[in-house]
């Protein structure tokens, strides 16, 4: 870990301004991902701005009938919120499928959205990695790829986004609210927050330098059955091989987002229109243009079979 300086912001706008002013600065909230990465010198910020004490830790009803979730709301509190459990059960279930109780107590809503990949080559600073060290190459391609991405990947990077929460947020059409260093606010649909890697896999979101997430809003509830199914090699405390988050309406229509397969929460609206025709039709659409390796091609079959089981459960 490199030595770094530390300050605590008193308002979101001030935090954003400091982040732009101080070169090499990063925000820290729960620290469940960033601190680990700093210990391994995968992240080497010169300055940390603590945003955890900003008053962004409440969940409020919106005028539109949805919820506004403060950026600093802890994963544990969000999962346990009665309104979330009743109207956005998918989000609660996805959160509880992730990490451990201890980590969820620390991890924040905004931090979860910005967590970085778990690609093992990203984690080993001896190995080339375009995400960690732009232009150095991708050592995962041609290496051990069982856990890595099958769709939305590029020749520069095949890492996946590891978040469970983000899968639910994507299916729920969440909107990310931010404040810029100049104090301007904007609303970014979750679908647009994460970027595909292309040839710049180190740029993972559309956030501009210093821009701080202040809240995530959920539109009014859409009803339906909410199922989150995470498939992994052990029963708990593991990253997903794949996960399926689905909202299924009584008429058989619905939404589905998939985790563990792509650099961002993977949802293809055109594909889910096929939901009444069953899992295969949806999966074909989800994975159009997929580019798996021989080690992770099983994920395509696995998503289809899991979605099939999820649809059966939802309709049962």
């Amino acid at each position: 870990m490199k030595a770094f300086s530390f300050s605590r912001a008193s308002t979101p706008a001030e935090a954003a301004a400091s982040a732009q002013r101080i070169e090499g600065a990063k925000f820290v909230a729960g620290g469940t991902n960033l601190l680990d990465l700093m210990k391994l010198e995968i992240e080497t910020p010169t300055h940390l701005i603590d945003v955890s004490k900003l008053k962004l830790d409440t969940i409020e009803a919106t005028a539109e009938g949805g919820l506004r979730i403060g950026a600093m709301v802890r994963n544990t509190d969000l999962a346990a919120d009665a309104r979330v459990r009743k109207d956005y059960a998918l989000l609660s279930r996805a959160l509880l499928a992730g990490a451990s109780g201890q980590l969820r107590n620390k991890a924040t809503t905004a931090g979860n959205l910005l967590q970085r990949t778990r690609c093992p080559y990203f984690y080993d600073t001896n190995q080339p990695c375009n995400k960690r060290s732009p232009g150095s190459g991708c050592s995962a391609i041609g290496g051990f790829t069982r856990m890595l991405g099958v769709v939305g990947v590029s020749d520069a990077c095949i890492a996946t986004n590891p978040s469970d929460m983000a899968i639910a947020m994507r299916a729920l059409d969440a909107v990310v609210e931010t404040v810029s260093p100049e104090g301007a606010t904007r609303a970014i649909p979750i679908a647009e927050l994460h970027r595909l890697p292309g040839d710049t896999p180190h740029i993972e979101t559309v956030l501009t330098p210093g821009e701080l997430i202040t809240a995530v809003t959920l539109p009014k509830p859409v009803g339906g059955k909410h199922v989150y199914r995470k498939v992994r090699d052990r029963a708990s405390y593991a990253f997903a091989l794949i996960s399926v988050g689905a909202i299924v309406q009584p008429d058989g229509s619905g939404r589905v987002a998939v985790g563990g397969v792509a650099p961002k929460p993977w949802r293809v609206e055109a594909a889910e229109k096929e939901m009444v025709r069953g899992a295969k039709a949806v999966t074909d659409g989800l994975f159009a243009g997929a580019n798996p390796t021989h080690e992770n091609a099983f994920k395509l079959t696995l998503v289809q079979r899991t979605l099939d089981a999820v649809l059966t459960e939802a309709r049962g």
Binding site: P120, D124, F298, R305
Partner: protein
């Protein structure tokens, strides 16, 4: 004491303390954090500086240049040691690759420098400033490709080839045949406590507080590596947070702490960071195995052949995965072969039940497959081919062998009769349910073991031996042994372990520790009884030691009275007469039963029930022995379902080198576990009549799980771990 005739009745047979399921005597220290481990010996000496190890960034090649300038200037840095300034270092007797590499690099993450600083954070930050220029060279990293070049290994415990009868002819002529290949991956010990040491010099004498299973080996190899006389090195390792074989030998932390302490001129402590452990230390090597079985239509095995291939660095040892096949089942025509390929991966070495653990992963699937070909129940097939004699040398009987009893007892308890012979027949909601069984087998090894016992005037018996407790319960069974022998309650026994200034013991490894080390304590206590009897005027042969008293000839005297004038101290060791102990084959046996569910959609496997029935000598403490077995069953579940060091075959290293990537079972993976110990008092093993269970428990578990997965789903997987991607395509169509 020479153990050269089978044990007769002795004071241990009273079983007043030995054989009782007592809580471990070191338990309160451990659960309250008062048992200090090597890295936290804040109670000894001056405040230590901290060393941070830098591992090589390539698998094979040479260091061209190393720029230490920035690291030297970094805050708090006291010294940097590399091969260039460390002085001449020998290779330890038990090491295959150098513990401090450079300029040549033998494997990925081989230690190439240690930075010593005032704090851990300073040392780690400075280590990040070292710039290394490498000249990589080509290496061999893929066992499957290196297999063709494999040769007869030089450094093996057993012969590379064994043959009895005419295997080729019998196999060709067999009515029913099986010829299949199986693979097991590289495994990491993944013990909780990382390798850690603190070293301090006093003149030319060195003390190392470390985490090591074999104290005498460690002291010897530290001295050899550093070119010091043996007597100048003291090793202290009273508490160990798991080893599983990874701490049988001195590793980089100990040698580097010593070098760093010398360079810094003060005590230094070093722990290997978790991401370094998989590639810097040892691992269980991957195997490719071929099993051939031939049987008559009556189910009797006529031909049994087992070949294994593994890889290692030059001068490394093979994984002897055929070990159990030489002894487990009858059959007149037999062969085994062990071959070793050259690989430039990190050093392969012992991990819990080396040989048998991966060997049974293959053999016991093969037995399940063969039973199906024969149309027999897999347990009945094994029982039919049970043997009471060494099948390679039928004149040599087993000392005690209750494999059939293990199966009969377990089948009854587990409800095996409800198992459906056809696969995929039982459904419970989303789960396809199946049962599997497999044999557990591990040889019983014995090692000379010494102890010193002291008696104080307060009647307290103190035992000192360099035996280690790696979480197994050594403190407790040694206390029980001394209490039984001297006729005192457990509270009157103090046990001190893990110090090279104590008599050399068997150490902990190969499941020989419990039997051998307590037999050493037995020997010392026999001597103490004689000394006490002499001091108090009793006839040593007939005196009774009970309730804190010595009794005989109508009088009784408090035990402590013998030490009124001065403490009595005696020392002895048990030595095993190999001719006598080898006259019969000593092994431990068990049967594993497993029920699994396989998710009909996703092929996720969840274990539903586990039972082990063990026949492993006298059980010295049923509570700690049970803990050993259930822990080993968990480890077997890991081997069956998830554990695999993933090899990058181009870059030459284990990629998933942390505990997020190398998954081991969590609580949610493990269901209720049952363990039954059969009465198995074996006078051939030692005066304790005990054997070992710590490794037996892992032997066969993974195959029982793989067999249960087959029974549940019809997916026969011969390549471990049995992950869902290997099952998925063989499940019924969905939708």
């Amino acid at each position: 004491m020479k153990f050269d005739t089978p044990a007769t009745t002795n004071p241990i047979d009273q079983l007043k303390v030995v054989g009782k399921p007592l809580d471990r005597v070191d338990g309160p220290l451990k659960v309250t954090g008062r048992a200090p481990y090597a890295y936290e010996r804040h109670d000894v000496g001056a405040k230590p500086a901290v060393g941070y190890v830098l591992g090589a960034g390539i698998a094979k090649g040479r260091i061209q240049a190393m720029d230490l300038a920035a690291a030297k200037r970094a805050p708090g840095v006291l010294a940097i040691v590399t091969a260039e300034n460390a002085g001449k270092l020998e290779l330890g007797k038990f090491n295959t690759a150098k513990l401090l590499g450079g300029p040549d690099i033998d494997h990925y993450h081989q230690a190439i420098a240690v930075v010593v600083a005032e704090t851990f954070e300073q040392a780690r930050a400075a280590a990040g400033l070292i710039k290394v220029e490498y000249a990589p060279t080509q290496g061999a990293f893929d066992l499957a490709s290196a297999r063709d070049g494999a040769v007869v290994p030089k450094n093996a415990n057993a012969p590379a080839d064994t043959a009895v009868g005419d295997f080729g002819r019998a196999f060709a002529a067999a009515a029913v045949k099986l010829d299949e290949s199986y693979t097991t991956p590289d495994h990491s010990h993944a013990m909780m406590e990382p390798h850690a040491s603190m070293a301090a010099w006093e003149g030319d004498s060195l003390t190392v507080w470390t985490s090591n299973q074999m104290i005498a080996w460690a002291a010897g190899d530290i001295a050899k590596t550093l070119g010091m006389p043996n007597g100048k090195v003291r090793v202290i390792s009273p508490y160990i947070g798991g080893g599983f074989g990874s701490k049988l030998f001195v590793r980089a932390d100990a040698v580097i702490a010593a070098l760093a302490a010398k360079a810094a001129g003060r005590p230094v402590k070093v722990a290997l960071p978790r991401p370094l452990i998989a590639n810097n230390t040892t691992h269980r090597p991957a195997t490719i195995q071929r099993v051939r079985l031939g049987a008559g239509s009556d189910g009797k095995i006529t031909a049994i052949g087992h070949e294994t291939w593994s890889g290692n660095l030059p001068d490394g040892s093979p994984e002897e995965a055929v070990a159990q096949t030489r002894l487990l089942y009858a059959g007149a025509n037999r062969m085994t072969a062990t071959r070793l390929a050259l690989l430039d991966l990190p050093e392969g070495n012992a991990m819990r039940a080396p040989g048998e653990a991966p060997g049974l992963m293959a053999l016991e699937i093969a037995m399940d497959e063969m039973a199906e070909k024969l149309g027999m129940d897999p347990i009945e097939f094994r029982i039919l081919n049970d043997t009471q004699v060494d099948p390679e040398d039928p004149k040599r009987p087993f000392s005690l062998r209750q494999l059939t009893e293990c199966y009969r007892t377990g089948a009854e308890k587990f409800g095996w009769s409800a198992r459906r012979a056809r696969t995929g027949q039982v459904r419970d909601g989303r789960w396809l349910v199946g049962m599997g069984a497999a044999s557990a087998f591990r040889n019983n090894l014995t090692m000379a073991s010494g102890a010193r016992v002291r008696l104080g005037s307060d009647g307290v018996v103190t035992v000192e031996t360099d035996m280690t407790d790696i979480g197994t319960g050594s403190y407790t069974i040694i206390a029980q042994t001394a209490a039984e022998m001297m006729g005192v309650p457990l509270e009157k026994v103090v046990v001190r372990l893990g110090d090279s200034s104590f008599p050399a013991s068997s150490g902990s490894g190969g499941q020989w520790g419990a039997n051998s080390s307590t037999a050493g304590v037995y020997a010392a206590c026999v001597k103490l009884r004689e000394a006490v009897a002499g001091q108090l005027g009793f006839d040593a042969a007939t005196a009774e030691f009970a309730d804190g008293e010595v009794r005989g000839g109508g009088k009784s005297v408090p035990l402590g009275d013998a030490a009124k004038a001065r403490e009595i101290m005696v020392e002895d060791k048990i030595e095993f007469d190999k001719e006598m102990t080898n006259s019969k084959q000593q092994s431990t046996f068990g049967a594993h039963f497993v029920e699994v569910g396989v998710d009909v959609a996703t092929a996720e496997v969840r274990i539903r029930r586990m039972l082990a029935v063990c026949s492993a000598g006298r059980i010295l403490n049923p509570k700690s022995a049970r803990s050993q077995v259930i822990g080993a069953m968990v480890m077997g579940a890991g081997a069956a379902l998830m554990e695999e060091l993933a090899v990058d075959k181009t870059r030459g290293f284990f990629v998933n080198h942390d505990l997020a990537g190398y998954e081991v079972p969590v609580h949610a993976d493990i269901p209720h576990q049952d363990v039954i110990f059969l009465d198995d008092t074996d006078p051939m093993s030692s005066p304790m009549k005990a054997k070992g269970v710590g490794e037996l428990g892992i032997c066969g578990v993974a195959a029982a799980i793989a067999n249960a997965i087959y029974n549940a789903s019809g997916a026969r997987v011969r390549d471990y771990p049995v992950t869902l991607d290997k099952i998925l395509d063989r499940l019924p169509e969905m939708g």
